[in-house]
């Protein structure tokens, strides 16, 4: 055996000794439960939870600290699907893309099946992202360098386009919702020009509209409002859950394995890109899923295909985000920004050499990525079983309890009653929008991506001195731009082609 392999084996042995020690296993189990809880409570995000455990990580062994963060994140992103399915409030922003579908399945009595799909595909997606990190981190990390403001601009536009494509109902209504979200995102202090816009002198508005309270209002409060208007008989009809958690999940995985690979791949790449995380990954993957699907009309009305693809992508993004963080010290998302801080605190420098110098630590991160995702299966199953009971709670108790959840969740993000006000306003907006047949998902995406589109556009224009040519002349930017334009014009071309063909047929040629 070569010394190189002996080194690797020794490091692996050391790493597994660390990870499989009782204390680290205990930390993994605890942070797993904590992560499930944080993800399942709307308004609490994985980033918040990780920030909270930083002070504890100062006193932990680096392997233990990173194990806690990896586990917490994986659990939280899956757990966001639980309230998303059961009470239509995305637990974390990463579930927002398919909340409508999951809840629709719940109402049809297939909540358990939907959650089972979420769980199994989350686990697989997480493992895929972890494997990408293990196999190809140093080479994949270079993707981050292809991206400057031009590329990010197109990526954001692509994300926006996908939300309109997936939105249910007529295209015009989805577009309206998206534009509304984008417009609202321009409220607040404009950092490019140093001007306050539409803030009416309110200092809370200067910070802009936070999309988490907005999301809780649009999805959660609006559903409570719709529910109190519903007759009790109607409400009771959809409470029965007929399915088993893992019923048909494995065969779905087998059937859709190619789709899964595409989705997890999209998730991993978007995770690698700094500034785009699990939430965007879910949107883009969902849109791609619809484009490639044979049943695109099911999307938005309860498509297990869509859910499986989007939920694999958001968990795969987690592993992706660690790639540039470990290789170049560039965070792929907000959690890995904290991870870099933790590493440096421990005197460990994220750089390409870390894979050689700190081999045992890196291997223990790898091991935890696999272990945490495997642990997600039983813990997630228990969480689903516990969560399912929510549906059996009488409506008279459930609705006020959900309302309390909306209030506290929208308060939590920045401990301000302003957030509760935002939630209320968006609750009413969401209710009215859905009455009129407008989808609410694109509003959330507009809020998330609006600032990205605007800032990256403005930054790019400043960089080039007002010359827009670089939006197309850079190779990656140009390709992304072309892809976006094709996405928008393809339906027009197809329609033109179709009408031309029918005209030909009409002439009897």
């Amino acid at each position: 055996m070569t010394p190189y392999f002996e080194n690797i084996l020794a490091a692996l042995q050391e790493a597994s000794g660390k990870v499989f020690s009782p204390s680290v296993l205990g930390i993994i189990a605890l942070s797993g439960i904590y992560g499930l809880f944080v993800g399942a409570v709307p308004g609490l995000t994985a980033t918040m939870a990780v920030a909270l455990i930083i002070p504890f990580t100062f006193f932990m062994d680096p392997a233990a600290a990173l194990a806690a963060i990896v586990t917490l994140e994986a659990m939280a992103i899956f757990a966001g699907d639980i309230p998303s399915t059961l009470i239509r409030i995305p637990g974390t922003p990463s579930s927002a893309a398919y909340t409508g579908d999951a809840y629709a399945l719940m109402q049809r009595g297939e909540g358990s099946r939907s959650l089972g799909v979420s769980l199994v595909f989350s686990v697989c997606g997480g493992l895929f992202g972890g494997l990408a990190l293990i196999v190809a981190a140093p080479s994949l990390a270079r993707i981050a360098f292809w991206f400057t403001t031009y590329e990010y601009f197109w990526l954001a536009i692509l994300g926006l386009s996908s939300s309109v494509i997936v939105s249910q109902g007529p295209l015009g209504k989805g577009l309206f919702s998206l534009l509304l979200g984008l417009f609202i995102s321009t409220i607040g202090f404009d950092e490019v020009h140093g001007k306050a816009r539409m803030t009416l002198g309110i200092s809370d508005l200067a910070g802009g509209i936070n999309f988490i309270p907005a999301m809780i209002g649009l999805f959660g409060l609006s559903e409570v409002l719709r529910n109190v208007l519903r007759r009790e008989a109607e409400a009771a009809a959809n409470a029965k859950d007929r399915g088993q958690v893992f019923q048909g999940t494995l065969s779905l995985l087998k059937r859709r394995f190619a789709h899964f690979l595409r989705s997890a791949g999209i998730g991993t790449v978007i995770g690698i890109l700094p500034g785009a995380g699990a939430d965007i990954a879910a949107w883009v993957s969902f849109a791609a899923s619809k484009k490639f699907s044979r049943n695109p009309d099911q999307y938005g009305k309860g498509s297990l295909e869509g859910i499986s693809d989007a939920t694999s992508a958001n968990n795969a993004a987690l592993g992706g985000a660690w790639v540039p963080a470990l290789v170049f010290g560039i965070p792929g998302d907000s959690v890995t920004a904290i991870v870099i801080g933790v590493l440096m605190m421990k005197g460990l420098q994220p750089n390409p050499q870390i894979f050689e110098k700190q081999r045992s630590l890196i291997y223990s991160i790898y091991l935890v990525f696999i272990l945490a995702n495997l642990l997600l299966l039983p813990l997630g199953y228990l969480a689903i079983r516990a969560g399912r009971r929510i549906v059996q709670i009488p409506r008279g108790i459930l609705l006020p309890a959900i309302l309390l959840c909306c209030i506290v969740g929208s308060y939590a993000i920045d401990s301000s009653l302003f957030g509760v006000g935002v939630m209320l306003a968006f609750g009413i907006t969401g209710f009215l929008l859905e009455r009129g047949g407008f989808p609410v998902g694109p509003v959330v995406l507009g809020l998330v991506l609006g600032p990205q589109v605007e800032k990256n556009f403005m930054f790019s224009m400043i960089k080039s001195g007002g010359d827009p040519i670089e939006f197309f002349s850079r190779p990656v930017a140009g390709s992304l731009g072309l892809l976006t334009i094709l996405l928008w014009t393809a339906p027009l071309f197809l329609a033109a082609l179709r009408s031309w063909r029918t005209r030909l047929e009409g002439k009897g040629i």
Partner: protein, 456 residues
């Protein structure tokens, strides 16, 4: 399930509120601090200010014997968080992690809040500005970079923070100190130094101005180099980086972070808090953390901090005027109303096209009208609908004076009853949900819920 007779209900409800009132009071002690303390951090999770704020929260919690939590009030280029800190009740329970931007924002007309709105308590660390280039960049020294800029004014692009932020000022003032135009390097705003460094690595800009601690990771990855730091002398933690002074540019510029209380806080509380902070920063943990993170820990007491405050307010205000960055962007890009106007136009177009479609098929639309369906709902349902909205409003108005526990209990009890849940079940559910939510959020997740009448 419903219990007959008023007295029992009354007793039940009374017992419920008594229990709620006692529930959080067990751990109360007298004097300051007698309830949780919140540190407002005006910058986002993952950044340096957040990391220092969280360290201070942990250390202060040990010193003060009361929970200390960090709340990130971000946005508005720091305006939102600093304003929240200035307008907090001056009782010593809301502390602001104040940053150098406070001495800049009001000069730029972004807010009325300025240094005079705070009681400075302690300066925690300083962050000297440094200049970074890519490792493979042709300039080996500051002088070489200066030479290039002198020969090609306006060619290079730099980034590091938003327009008018501290690192932007570092760029323009350093150029002025070299006898160059403030705009000899074009400033490309960014959302912080992280994105700026990524932009540097991917070739979007040629120079980045930020602190050495921020650039530490990529420096050690040998991706970027620092050509100099704008400090009086070399930093202990980065002994290999030369200062601007050594290289013949007599210029220093430092950002800082500190803790401050809102103006009007009673002097004895300010003193007690300062004593707690003083103990926290004298421990080995603080020194170790700051050293490892690459933060230049230079503690100043309240008087020194007040002088720093006053001096920087003057100096930075003057620099902002000299560097002509009081106004807005450079004018290469569309104005601030370009996007809102574009979007409003789009919205108007979308609405009119939808109306046109509707007009084209009025009959079909009429039969499926959701409003028509809604009209058939009983009036009671709409009343309930209004009540849910009112409940949220009542929470917004009452939770601060009454506290989370009482307000939430009142709201839940009322809504349970309106949805025809029995008294016993309502009381039990309230008793389970409200303290449960309190424990989960306030205790486990450290979200400081409104305390109101019940302080702990």
């Amino acid at each position: 399930m419903e219990l007959p007779g008023l007295p029992i209900k009354k007793t039940l409800a009374l017992a419920l509120f008594a229990a709620l009132a006692c529930f959080p009071g067990c751990l109360r002690n007298s004097g300051y601090p007698s309830r949780p303390v919140t540190i407002i951090c005006p910058w986002a999770v993952g950044g340096g200010t957040d990391a220092v704020a969280r360290l201070m929260a942990k250390l202060l919690q040990d010193e003060m014997g009361a929970p200390v939590s960090v709340v990130n009030r971000t946005g508005g280029g720091g305006v939102t968080g600093h304003t929240a800190g200035a307008k907090a009740p001056p009782d010593g329970y809301t502390v602001l992690m104040i940053t150098v931007e406070i001495a800049m924002m009001h000069h730029r007309g972004l807010t009325d809040i300025g240094p005079e709105d705070f009681e400075p308590v302690k300066l925690i660390n300083r962050d000297a500005a440094a200049v970074f280039v890519r490792t493979e960049a042709p300039w080996r020294t500051l002088a070489e970079l200066e030479q290039f800029v002198r020969e090609h004014p306006g060619r290079l692009r730099a980034s590091g923070t938003a327009l008018g932020g501290i690192w932007h000022l570092a760029c323009t003032s350093a150029l002025l100190a070299m006898g160059l135009e403030a705009e000899a390097i074009r400033w490309v705003p960014s959302e912080g130094s992280g994105p700026a460094r990524q932009e540097l690595l991917s070739g979007g800009v040629e120079v980045v101005f930020c602190s050495l601690s921020e650039g530490k990771a990529q420096m050690e990855a040998a991706r970027i180099r620092s050509l100099g730091v704008m400090a009086e002398r070399r930093l202990e933690i980065f002994p290999e980086i030369p200062t601007f002074k050594e290289q013949g540019v007599d210029w220093t510029l430092e950002g800082w972070r500190g803790l401050a209380l809102p103006r009007g806080t009673p002097p004895e509380i300010v003193q007690r808090f300062e004593a707690f902070v003083a103990k926290a920063v004298s421990g080995a943990e603080f020194v170790e953390f700051m050293g490892r993170g690459g933060y230049d820990a230079r503690v100043e007491n309240s008087q020194e901090f007040a002088r720093t405050f006053e001096r920087d307010d003057r100096v930075l205000g003057e620099l902002l005027r000299q560097s002509k960055i009081l106004g807005g962007g450079r004018g290469d890009e569309p104005g601030p109303w370009f996007f809102p106007a574009l979007l409003l136009g789009g919205l108007a177009l979308a609405i009119s096209s939808l109306i046109l479609k509707r007009l084209a098929r009025p009959a079909a639309a009429e039969s499926r009208s959701p409003l028509a369906q809604a009209a058939s709902r009983p009036a009671g349902a709409w009343l309930l609908f209004g009540e849910v909205l009112a409940a949220v409003l009542v929470y917004i108005l009452l939770s601060e004076p009454l506290g989370f526990l009482l307000t939430a209990a009142l709201l839940l009890l009322d809504l349970f009853r309106r949805l025809r849940t029995g008294w016993l079940a309502s009381c039990l559910a309230t008793l389970l949900l409200v303290p449960g939510a309190y424990l989960l959020f306030a205790k486990l997740m450290r979200v400081p819920l409104p305390s109101g009448l019940i302080p702990w």
